[in-house]
């Protein structure tokens, strides 16, 4: 491998993530490629849903227990705390905030996504487990909103993540977000909310779009 090709690849990597060699106790040379060795390189699979009444029942449970990843990606997150406050109280609908992506099933993209946040949002989305849903708040996620000409915010979220429900507005009021949750519930109960499987099927297209704007791709292809 020529050295010229290596340099741009490694340029954005943190020092501990670069390829390096270590000499073992008996003089053996160990090649370490952290991105390959330390991370799981498997790609996601399409997980087929069950059939019939069982899937209907499970979908009902999934719809009635929406665990939201507590990640305020943009200015829409100012309306998320009121959502869990006395006046709006989303807990009534089985909506709950979880601080870790492993346990949450809903990712709320609250408004515009800066490129730096998009990278984290993708990681968070990929660390969530199938089935998972995406709610996009605000007009910024639909067509860029008032940041349509900004050099650092994406215009269309559905090119990077499969979106289940859009909630328009700048920013959407808590009532609108509650309505959005109810729309998502209907969608889950009808069995159409298979965003995770769609993502797994079209992984190449999504990855191409993502890598187009995330120039310093220093993570594995799919972040388990």
């Amino acid at each position: 491998m020529s050295e010229k090709k290596d340099i741009p690849e490694d340029m954005f990597l943190a020092p501990e993530n670069r390829k390096h060699t270590v000499t073992g106790p008996d003089g053996e040379v160990i090649h370490v490629d952290p991105l390959n060795d330390y991370f799981c390189q498997d790609l996601p699979k399409v997980e087929a849903p069950y059939k019939g009444v069982l899937e209907k029942f499970l979908n009902w449970a999934r719809a009635e227990s929406l665990w939201v990843l507590a990640y305020g990606t943009g200015c829409g997150s100012i309306e998320l705390p009121p959502l869990f406050s006395p006046r709006f109280d989303a807990y009534r609908f089985g909506v709950m905030m979880r601080p870790t992506p492993r346990q949450s099933g809903v990712l709320i993209i609250s408004g515009y996504l800066a490129v730096k946040t998009l990278k984290r949002a993708i990681r968070s989305y990929e660390q969530m487990q199938n089935p998972k849903y995406v709610i996009a708040l605000g007009s910024c996620t639909i067509n860029g909103g008032m940041y349509f000409d900004s050099y650092n915010t994406i215009n269309r979220l559905d090119h990077y993540l499969p979106v289940d429900v859009y909630i328009a507005g700048c920013m959407p009021r808590p009532e609108a977000i509650l309505a959005g949750f109810n729309k998502l519930k209907e969608r889950i109960k009808s069995g159409n909310a298979e965003g995770a499987n769609h993502y797994a099927e079209n992984l190449e297209w999504y990855k191409a779009n993502q890598k187009k704007i995330i120039k310093d791709w220093n993570m594995p292809t799919y972040n388990w």
Partner: protein
């Protein structure tokens, strides 16, 4: 009673030696440290920003803030927008308290183009600004308890904040983004009965703050967790450009409303809220007193403001409003401290440069990094909230 048996005697031999700048030298390879990312996806950080903490045991050895997760390039976008088009964009620069952006941008435009604002509009602006301040304080004052696990008053606080948002909705039509203050004046008069309804809400909020006093302020565990934590030495205040409650908690009398009176604040009667301990508790205390001041100011404004008057001065057609070449500095007091706009006009219909400098620009980056060294990892979020870090105004 002597506490010596139970006092935690830390074995300092495990901790890194400080170098000549007082910063500990951390060698990650020595296996004594863990690197922990607090944020961007973490309930303990305010908004979307990240703290890269190197910890040894429970103690933070090195802290680094990472911002830019909310960078939208506002200052670039302003170059492409006419003065009037800047408005809807500018208010999104500080999401919790957008009105200060409206005010600063209007004031800057007026100063540069030499427009006088009618008196009535000035008083209405003050109402909007003070209501916005109250609305933020109702989040942050009980929220200080929320950072150390006392979530209940924070939840009540959100309810009372809704009351103020209701009044905003009535006055301006918007919940969060109001766009009430425009160049040349304001957008509308107070609706009928507004003063009475606001007064009702203020009474309720005062009762609620008494409750907060009981539950948070005089809580033994709260005091234990916040006293002596995150002390900002007074000599750092100027050196790091700290303003607002942080400076006032260190004993400095700094309040833009009194130092550089804008609008009609010089006609109102209020005082600096000063504390001297300069720790998390003192900053909380300053904010707690700010709530009372703000409620008092709102009452004074409602009593002193004229009943009728011009709402807007004559402005040129906003679509081809050329503003002569000039530079100006506009400041106002936000709930977090001094909020500044530096505006440069080049004589065209587009602003040449509008630069924002919010209090978080120093509180959230240099000061926070400095304060977190040797802090306990449990206190990180409480220190961060007490400095009122608001990432959107750091990165714009």
């Amino acid at each position: 009673m002597s506490n010596t048996i139970f006092d935690w005697k830390k074995d300092r031999s495990m901790f890194p030696e400080p170098d000549k700048d007082g910063k500990p030298v951390v060698e990650l390879d020595s296996q004594k440290y863990i690197k922990v990312w607090q944020g961007p996806n973490h309930p303990g950080v305010t908004g979307n920003m990240a703290l890269e903490l190197t910890i040894s045991g429970d103690e933070v050895m090195e802290a680094k803030t990472h911002v830019g997760y909310l960078h939208r390039g506002f200052e670039k976008l302003f170059e492409r927008r006419r003065y009037m088009q800047c408005f809807p964009t500018s208010i999104r620069m500080c999401v919790p308290e957008p009105d200060i952006n409206e005010y600063n941008l209007s004031r800057g435009t007026e100063l540069l183009s030499g427009i006088e604002v009618p008196e009535m509009a000035g008083w209405l602006r003050m109402i909007a600004l003070e209501m916005a301040r109250l609305q933020v304080l109702l989040r942050t004052v009980p929220g200080q308890g929320g950072t150390i696990g006392l979530g209940l008053p924070a939840q009540w606080g959100l309810y009372y904040r809704e009351l103020i948002l209701d009044r905003f909705e009535e006055l301006t039509g918007g919940r969060i983004y109001h766009m009430y203050i425009l160049p040349g004046g304001v957008r509308g008069l107070l609706p009928d009965g507004f003063k009475k309804r606001l007064e009702d809400n203020l009474v309720k909020i005062e009762a609620f703050m008494k409750e907060v006093d009981r539950v948070v302020y005089s809580n033994a565990v709260f005091k234990k967790r916040t006293k002596g934590i995150g002390v900002v030495p007074p000599e750092w205040i100027d050196q790091y450009g700290a303003t607002g409650p942080v400076a006032r908690a260190a004993g400095y009398k700094r309040d833009v409303r009194k130092d550089y009176p804008y609008l009609y604040y010089d006609r109102l009667d209020f005082d600096y809220n000063v504390e001297h301990e300069s720790d998390v508790f003192a900053r909380f205390h300053v904010r707690r007193k700010d709530v009372d001041t703000t409620i008092d100011l709102l009452r004074q404004i409602m009593a002193k403001m004229p009943e009728k008057g011009e709402l807007r001065a004559e402005t040129p057609n906003v679509l081809h409003w050329k503003i002569p070449r000039g530079e100006t500095l506009v400041r106002c007091e936000s709930s977090r401290g001094e909020y500044l706009f530096y505006m440069v006009a080049d004589g065209s219909i587009y602003p040449r440069r509008i630069n924002l400098r919010g209090p978080s620009y120093t509180h959230g980056v240099v000061l926070l990094e400095k304060l977190l060294v040797n802090a306990n990892i449990s206190d990180v979020s409480s220190i961060m909230v007490s400095l009122a870090t608001c990432p959107p105004e750091i990165e714009r």
